[in-house]
Amino acid sequence: MPNTEAASSGASPASAAVPRNKGALRVESLIVLAILVAVMAFASPYFFTVPNILNVVLATSTIGILALGATFVIGSAGIDLSVGSILAFAGVIGALVASTLGLPWWLAIPAAVLAGAFAGWINGLVITYGNVPAFVVTLGMMGVARGVALLITDGQAIYGLPAPLIWLGQGRPFGIPVPALVFIVVAIILHFVLSYTRFGRHTLIIGDNERGARAMGVPVRSLRIKIYILSGMMAGLAGLLTTARVNAGDPTAGMTFELSAITAAIIGGTNLFGGRATILGTVIGALIMGVLQNGLNLLAIPSFWQQISIGVVLVAAVWLDQFAKRGRE
């Protein structure tokens, strides 16, 4: 083997001065969450109670599950604007299977998840083989999935769901809401997938340098399709839980949720331009939004302020990131 340079030290143990790649979680988001929780706990005596904390996690779960998918999509330098509409589409399909068609209730679960996966697969196919930008494809799917949901329900919500299905949205085993449990379990699984598997590693690498990844033999197209399928599946799961929680397959559910999901991922430190993302960061990002919303509710601040505050938090998060980057360079 070549050893062409005389007397060099080679790789030494990790030196303290260099930033390590592992745990690319931004501490900033954790600090923001801590400050937010402290402020809310100070402002409202009700905030730091077990029922309220469970409410926060329940309120976070829908956006959170969508944001888990968005973490992979944005980490791969893509974007998925269709998840809010896919949520409605899949939720309607789930309600249709369990209620209108009268099939066994549990079939609603694979039906909704597969409906979401199917929409995501179409997104992925058009993006990779059609060479159409993800922004355009998923914007189109946003319209199509919503339209199909409205079409098959004739614009009316589907009611009359079987009790076990409703339990998925409203049940509280050991006091913990089922959607919150699902969010936590899926987050743990996807954390493992993103941080420890080739699939997760390659997701971030095509977000970092797609051409290089292809030259090194990463199957970029099939990987991208899988990532959009994953995002669609998360939207399908969120749709099912939403349907179960409100006891209706509502074709107008999930409006603008894609923006909240993207916001949660970005606040959590996902690089908007791809290449860096952590599930833990996204969970924290989603919790920041949940706490903000919950706190403002407790303080009886009009909901219009919630929209304003979330918009400000998003821009502030990205601005802080740019600021920190400039500091490093």
């Binding site: 070549p2 060099s8 080679g10 030494s12 390590r20 790649n21 592992k22 590693r201 033999g217």
Partner: protein, 244 residues
Amino acid sequence: MLQINDIKKNFGPIEVLRGVTFSVDAGECIAVVGDNGAGKSTLMKIITGVYKASDGAVMLADKEITGTEPGEIRELGVEMIYQNLELASQQDVTANIFLGREPTMRFMGWDTGVIDFKSARTQAQEMIRQLGARLPSVDIQVGNLSGGQQQSVAIARALTFSPKVVIMDEPTAALAVREIQHVLDLIKELKSRGIAVILISHRLTDVFEVADRIVALRQGVVIADERTGETTMQDVVAHIVGAH
């Protein structure tokens, strides 16, 4: 070792390669020279599978590899060090060295898809040590390294899996003098180990130091294929600019 037979490539109506033929033996270094737009990079990307040839064949040890996917071509032992290195700057050194070939853990014979971080890190460290590259750590993000260090990572990636053919696209263009010598010594080392090297370079002094043969491309065709000892720098320049 590697044979390129009458490769043609057109992008729409534009003919970039109009029938290129040459070969490289084991332990031999071929320099491919030519002006910008002569088709050098296109040809290399056809060899590595990034582009598909419009016509012609690439043979590796008498087996046709034309049309094979980039990952499979790497598996067969053809590696390329790109001019822009093609690293993932937000990933660490280990991740870049094993990019596309991450070692995974097996469970009862099944590939779990779970990366074996420990084995990758150990092997990456060993590779960096053997190369004599000066890196603070294999855990550092590649984007935080200097240009020369980043190139060491790209070289380590190309050499980790015992390649048969190594293609280098302008490996010395962005380097300091001391680092250039390092790369040239490395090419000699690869030759002595029986690896075929294709060097694309504008720096004719480098070419004359390490190449056994010089292939000059102009407007998509080979206009000269000469032994280094039997030609002069003036002749090569004349081939490149088309003064003959």
